[in-house]
């Protein structure tokens, strides 16, 4: 036992590496099955056009979901996403309406998003208000404020070519999808390759151990919410570009879809565990289900039913696969 005790990379280690991604494999399998089924039953589902649609819809959930993954990994939750998106799109629309330059308007929106997120983060990190309550407050206050500012009417502004371009496609891909993909890469990088990202996992895994390691737990908690606010603001930019107006009632229930995407992607609400790739697949699964059902053309109420059943079934299959692979002992 004198030399290094690391066992040579045997079969075991390889199993380990592979089984570390069972969750992702399961989700990919489920998405493939969804594609096959909808490809058969839903007209136009496999068309290139529809793939673009799926990407675009996915980006609305996805961008916010990347940050939400970190929030949930840190053991917190941010339910203010939807109203945050709506409020910031309204603020930016007002700025544009008052003829502020585009860069300033959007920039102000991004800063505002980050600032509001930081407020929630500070409430949690510094003042120990549970994050559900802190973001519930934002949820209620921002939706109310946005509706109040606009009288629930869309805020329109002069056409802006750059903004229109952002709502459109580039090389056949929606700009919002491109932004989503770039941000995905960035978040994968941040979550895996930076001290901040790893600290988020450490804080979610055992906050008091993380603190004793010298990690500034308060700072990490604030920052994940700052990021979440910033990503909501970016979603707001995409929404603004796409709708051409600022709408206080938009993005309703988005927080639900975002959290569902993260959880379906295998991140535990108890914190400490989760992967960006899982979230990507979770968001994709949810978007594909929504899209395929609309295209199938059944009654929208039946869609809700079927969606509920499919989401549970997908996670059920995935959990079963995980358990068979021996990782899923709660």
């Amino acid at each position: 036992m004198t030399a290094s005790a690391i066992a040579p990379p045997t079969a075991r280690q390889k199993t380990n590496r592979l089984s570390g991604h069972v969750n992702e494999f399961g989700l990919i399998a489920i998405i493939v099955v969804l594609y096959v089924i909808f490809g058969i039953i839903s007209p136009g589902f496999l068309s290139a056009n529809n793939q673009v649609n799926i990407l675009r819809d996915g980006s609305t959930i996805g961008i916010a979901a990347w940050a939400q993954t970190l929030v949930i990994v840190a053991g917190e939750i941010d339910i203010s996403v939807g109203p945050m998106v709506a409020f910031i799109s309204v603020v930016m629309a007002f700025l544009l309406k008052w003829h502020e330059p585009l860069a300033i308007s959007l920039g102000a929106g991004l800063v505002l998003g980050a600032a509001l997120g930081s407020v929630a983060g500070a409430l949690r990190g510094v003042f120990n208000v549970p994050s559900f309550v802190a973001t519930l407050g934002l949820w209620s206050a921002l939706r109310g404020l946005a509706l109040f500012m606009t009288n629930a009417l869309p805020v329109s502004f002069d056409d802006n070519d750059t903004l229109d371009w952002m709502g459109d496609n580039v090389f056949g891909l929606p700009v919002s999808a491109v932004v989503m993909i770039i941000l995905f890469g960035l978040f994968v990088f941040v979550s895996r390759k930076t001290a901040f990202g790893r600290s988020v996992y450490a804080v979610g895994g055992n906050a008091s151990a993380a603190r004793l390691c010298g990690i500034n737990v308060t700072r990490i908690r604030i920052l994940v919410f700052t990021l979440s606010g910033l990503m909501a603001a970016i979603t707001a930019v995409m929404l603004l570009a796409r709708l051409g107006t600022g709408n206080a009632g938009a993005a309703e229930g988005l927080e639900f879809d975002v959290i569902a995407g993260v959880v379906v992607g295998g991140t535990a609400l108890s914190g400490g565990r989760g992967s960006m790739l899982g979230t990507l697949l979770g968001v994709l699964a949810i978007t594909v289900i929504g899209d395929g059902l609309v295209l199938y053309g059944i009654n929208s109420f039946v869609q809700d039913m079927v969606r509920g059943v499919i989401i549970v079934a997908a996670v059920l299959l995935n959990v079963a696969a995980l358990r068979r692979s021996g990782r899923g002992r709660h």
Binding site: S4, R12, N206, A210
Partner: protein, 497 residues
């Protein structure tokens, strides 16, 4: 041991596998009524696994478990209840209490006394008071577990195991967070029940306890039983050799006189436990702090590190007042390992690598980007220096044995390059071999010029590592013992005062 009495508990050809590990390999094991059996082995030898099979917490992959001559039949959730129904009580290695509930409720967890379906809190409290008193504890039964010190929590668990009329009591490292007085209480209780014909299985890494208590000992190595032998007739060296598979080198401690003063504590007061602690730590010195449980050693560390605010007093680092914030202390080159490894030490779901480098990410990044290669190298350096037994650098730390987890918790400060280490009970739950390795690590760190404050409730080990030992009594430094004249007996006497 008369073989005519049927064994109270028996394992037949029991095998238990975990992903990648054969934790128990066709083990045959039995214990008779009234027998006190020690189970010995290194960290990861399979002791706790054997116990979990007996209690029904886990099911063997192969083989059968018999209690009172009948096999455990229920699979799944009811199995532990079946075992408990046959008179089995266990103290698991991991704290199995619900922190948010009262002592009394934890005492009867899952088997609360009821009158007409309504929980009978009064008789619960009464019985709890009784059971605690048996171990010399005077605690309010309605106190929440979370309000107790780790030691008191452990005592509650032990009291739980002895309560009622058990036929087999299993104690998995019951004393790892206890100090002398409590250990004595536990030993007395064990002898008392054994005299009444109750069988006791006792896991411990402390040989002197084994000698005081056990009739027989079963030595496990790598999931197999090496031998079962009468304790009185066996030499410690032989037992250790069986555990390790080789003989242990005898150790010699070369006491070193330290260099300049690196840390000075003056009149530190943290009511109600500390009132005016004064001492100095020198460069290259291992300074032990002895004291009874609850004497305030942990509070002392916490207030030095800036984790809690002392009422008065000064902490000087290299002559200058120390910063009051924990993170600033870390920047100054301090490192701190907490006494409860599971709650405050490890980040269970993360790998050994991340648990190691979390103290200093800057060493393992390249322009702000973490490098897997550098992380793996840094981790491997720690792993090989501290002899951590792990399958890979990325193995989740929760799957390591306790001793190996502890080495990582110390190793993270070696990674961070800390110059002053505060180690609170670093050898808790660690096997003989790993203990010796930890002593070696501490000594070699001291040789490198690092300074170490060392707290242990196992007084016998202080003279193995320390250049000096301070005795903390009644909130003050009562005595100072310097090597080579550190003696366990005298230290203990000093602690009690």
């Amino acid at each position: 041991m008369s073989q005519t009495i049927p064994p109270i508990a028996e394992l037949r050809r029991a095998t238990r596998r975990y992903p990648g590990v054969l934790a128990l390999d066709g083990v045959a094991f039995s214990v008779q009524p009234g027998e006190v059996r020690a189970i010995l082995g290194k960290n990861g030898a399979g002791k706790s696994t054997l116990i979990r099979l007996l209690t029904g917490a886990e099911t063997p992959d192969e083989g059968v478990v018999l209690l009172n001559g009948k096999p455990l039949a229920i699979q799944g959730a009811g199995r532990t209840r079946e075992a408990a129904g046959r008179g089995l009580r266990a103290v698991y290695q991991e704290l199995s209490l619900v922190p948010s509930m009262s002592i009394a409720e934890n005492m009867f967890l899952g088997a609360w006394p009821r009158a007409h379906g309504i929980l009978d809190h009064r008789s619960m409290a009464e019985a709890t008071r009784h059971a605690l008193l048996r171990l010399g504890l005077k605690l309010d039964p309605f106190l929440l577990i979370s309000a107790l010190s780790p030691a008191a929590q452990q005592m509650v668990e032990i009291a739980r195991a002895f309560q009622g009329s058990p036929r087999l009591v299993i104690l998995d490292e019951p004393t790892s967070s206890l100090a002398a007085a409590e250990v004595d209480q536990v030993c007395a209780a064990v002898r008392e029940v054994a005299a009444q014909g109750v069988a006791v299985l006792y896991v411990s890494h402390r040989m002197n306890e084994i000698r005081r208590l056990a009739d027989t000992a079963t030595v496990l190595r790598d999931g197999r039983i090496i031998s079962t032998l009468p304790v009185a007739e066996a030499r410690t060296e032989d037992i250790v050799q069986m555990m390790l598979g080789r003989s242990e080198q005898t150790r010699t401690i070369i006491p070193q006189s330290g260099g300049e003063t690196v840390l000075e504590v003056r009149n530190l007061a943290v009511p109600p436990k500390l009132n005016g602690v004064t001492f100095a730590l020198r460069r290259g010195e291992v300074l032990g702090i002895a004291g009874l449980l609850g004497s305030g050693r942990t509070e002392l560390f916490e207030s030095i590190m800036g984790l809690s605010k002392p009422l008065s007093g000064q902490v000087l680092v290299a002559g200058a007042p120390a910063p009051r914030r924990y993170t600033d202390m870390i920047q100054l080159g301090f490192g701190y390992t907490p006494e409860s490894r599971k709650e405050d030490g490890i980040i269970p779901m993360l790998g050994v690598d991340e648990n190691t480098v979390a103290t200093d990410f800057r060493q393992v990044d390249r322009a702000g980007i973490l490098s897997n290669k550098v992380i793996a190298e840094a981790t491997r350096a720690i792993i090989s220096r501290l002899h951590v037994k792990t399958a890979a650098t990325t193995t989740p730390i929760a799957t390591l044995s306790g001793g190996n987890q502890q080495k990582v918790v110390i190793g993270r400060w070696i990674h961070a390059g800390s110059r002053i280490l505060l180690l609170d009970e670093p050898t808790r739950g660690v096997d003989v071999e790993a203990k010796n390795q930890i002593y070696d690590i501490i000594r070699s760190l001291a040789r490198e010029g690092k300074s170490i404050l060392f707290v242990s409730s196992e007084i016998e080990e202080l003279d193995h590592v320390c250049d000096r030992v301070l005795v903390l009594r009644n909130g003050q430094i009562a005595e100072e013992h310097a090597a080579p004249k550190i003696d366990a007996e005298r230290l203990l006497a000093a602690c009690i005062g």
